[in-house]
Symmetry: C2
Subunit: 380 residues, 2 copies
């Protein structure tokens, strides 16, 4: 790590690393945050500097509910919002307060690889359940529920990371119905909910029938900036209370009241909405560029076109070896996330995850050309 | 909770609640944060909005090390700093990564009551060990170490909350020596370290001999603003690595890079130093006012004069009943924290904690007058 390094990733300039699942530095909304900060400071309201109320800055929860309500096309009750430090922080807190070492959690196969790392830190037993183009396969899940008693099912129901798929409304309702029947929590990671490029996906799982056991997790990391460490949990008030009354928050106060104050202003000034519009336009273009380039240059690679989020999840040509390919790709200064990382059972070796959010279009094309050459070299 | 409430506490205007252990709203440094934000935004450095490096914003760690080094009179190595979301967040993380349900932790009797709540959330077994005017009584601690195998000893070695005492250098070294002999971590909550009003206390416990097992926890909550959710852990790099490599941070990135950027500028502009000077002057005045008023109006109340921090820890007159007194006090619109809250064994019923940081001098005097009348009514 270089002394003074600020950001988590630092990529060599001449590399194309499709593995990076982050927004591009040049696009981060510094001007919007500056305008929000100025607006907030002008109010001379010192309460954003005090210990915050446990549920989260109340003015911010009202502004956030207004913004989300418009986006979802469904009203959001500020009393059903708890302000978090982002989805990772929320997952960490859920593990801390809702599990004990040795408990079982069920995850999708594939699932977000770093969530798996959090579950490992809490010594949870992870069981995978398969998904298809419409999300979790309900019968397969129920088979597992008959054998295991999970503390929760962790699902990414919208623009899945890595698979790109969105769970259908019908399956969502079946899932929440199962949560009643088998008494488990549904932890819905909906961090890509608002990054839809073609059509509006179903609203968060908190809006399903039988949603009493649903915790819907949202974040500003993908729609504004990850460095803010700001997100939310939407759930019934009785589900929120174990979080808002825990020792950590009683001692330290609610999460990020100062940043919440600034982001309240970003929302009130309409800057969140306009920035999100701009992001969606950029990402839609990049998504199309990447999928077109892949189809043209590496026709052997199979994938579904995503319609939101950050990722394309592709199948390697028959017989290609992911491990050898990754080594070969790196010789061509291109990289990606290999499928095995997203598997709770060391499978998915024939898959790779490509992120289209981080790079400009010309770099995406350049990366695909390099990957094509690497695959050509590795073809059996 | 009122809709839109931002701050954690909301006190009726005509009450004096000595129980509030928080900075006063009117004194919170909004202008300093505004100047820091402007300075940071002018640099056009978007990296403060990206996922932060796990150890914490590197520019900030350098600025913080410079500031702390001057304050401690001891050099601080930025590589021995890990940026946290404050002491409560650090305690939460230590419990998550360093304990399992049923593990033992040893705390001082009395100890910070909300740390006890965090330990309860992690289902830890809490053993109290007595302190005196010089902090932990080492022989008493060793007796307990012979019977129990704690994951850590939680100590507040400087301007203790609630007891006000500071652990002597000799005892600090004995404590770290025991940590080697019995193999436990020392979690040193040093949140009041820089709020010294008469003389400079010993440097953080990370500077002791045999400090390989010491985690020194600091925070901006008491020297700048709690709403920032920003603090640090100082320890040997091998002690920091379980934290900086955990799943939560690998997924979410380092803590609060955006706020860290702004506070870097607050430090660089000299505003942290000047604000701390101002705070120390204000608090010293208030401390003297409260102790003088107590001595004058309630001579039966016994206490040691603190020389830093936020609190006076007082003994009730013989025979007074804390529970009855608190009820009586509330009739007089005055309150405090009863001793039992700070006890891991439901003792300390004859003590009360009075905070002198939150109220202006005239209110402190008014509060003491009310408390005197309440004690007068309750005198047996």
């Amino acid at each position: 790590m270089a002394k003074g390094q600020v950001a988590q990733v630092s990529v060599s300039k001449d590399w194309i690393d499709f593995g990076i699942g982050q927004p591009q530095l040049d696009n981060l909304p510094l001007e919007q945050l500056e305008a929000g900060a100025n607006h907030r400071f002008e109010r001379k309201d010192r309460s954003i500097l005090a210990y915050g109320i446990e549920k989260g800055n109340g003015q911010f929860r009202i502004a956030l509910a207004d913004f989300l309500g418009l986006q979802y096309g469904n009203a959001v009750d500020p009393d059903q919002l708890f302000i978090t430090g982002g989805v990772s922080q929320a997952l960490d807190m859920i593990c801390a307060l809702k599990t004990r070492p040795g408990d079982t959690v069920i995850v999708e196969e594939p699932s977000y690889f770093l969530a798996l790392r959090i579950f490992a830190d809490y010594k949870l037993k992870v069981i995978g359940t398969p998904i298809d183009a419409n999300g979790i396969i309900i019968d397969e899940l129920e088979k597992r529920l008959k054998k295991h008693k999970p503390a929760f099912v962790y699902t990414i129901p919208v623009f899945h990371n890595p698979a790109g798929v969105t769970q259908s409304p019908k399956r969502r309702n079946k899932l929440t119905h199962l949560s009643e029947k088998y008494d488990f929590l549904i932890v819905a990671d909906e961090v890509y909910q608002l990054l839809n490029y073609n059509s509006v996906p179903p609203p968060p799982m908190a809006y399903c029938d039988d949603s009493r056991r649903v915790l819907s997790l949202g974040s500003f990391s993908k729609i504004l900036a990850p460095g803010l460490k700001l997100g939310w949990m939407q759930a019934k008030p009785n589900q929120l209370s174990p979080f808002t009354s825990c020792g950590y928050l009683e001692s330290g106060g609610g999460l990020n009241p100062f940043v919440s104050g600034i982001v309240s202003s970003v929302i009130e000034l309409g800057l969140q909405e306009s920035y999100l519009k701009r992001l969606k336009k950029i990402y839609k273009d990049r998504m199309t560029t990447l999928s077109d380039a892949l189809r043209q240059k590496i026709p052997a690679l199979k994938f579904r076109d995503p319609s939101g989020g950050y990722f394309i999840w592709a199948n390697l040509p028959d017989g290609a070896d992911n491990e050898l390919l990754l080594a070969e790709a790196k010789k061509h200064k291109v990289s990606y996330q290999p499928g095995i990382k997203f598997s709770s059972s060391k499978g998915l070796r024939d898959h790779l995850r490509l992120c289209f959010a981080y790079y400009r279009k010309q770099d995406l094309v350049k990366g695909v050309q390099r990957l094509a050459r690497a695959i050509e070299m590795e073809r059996p």
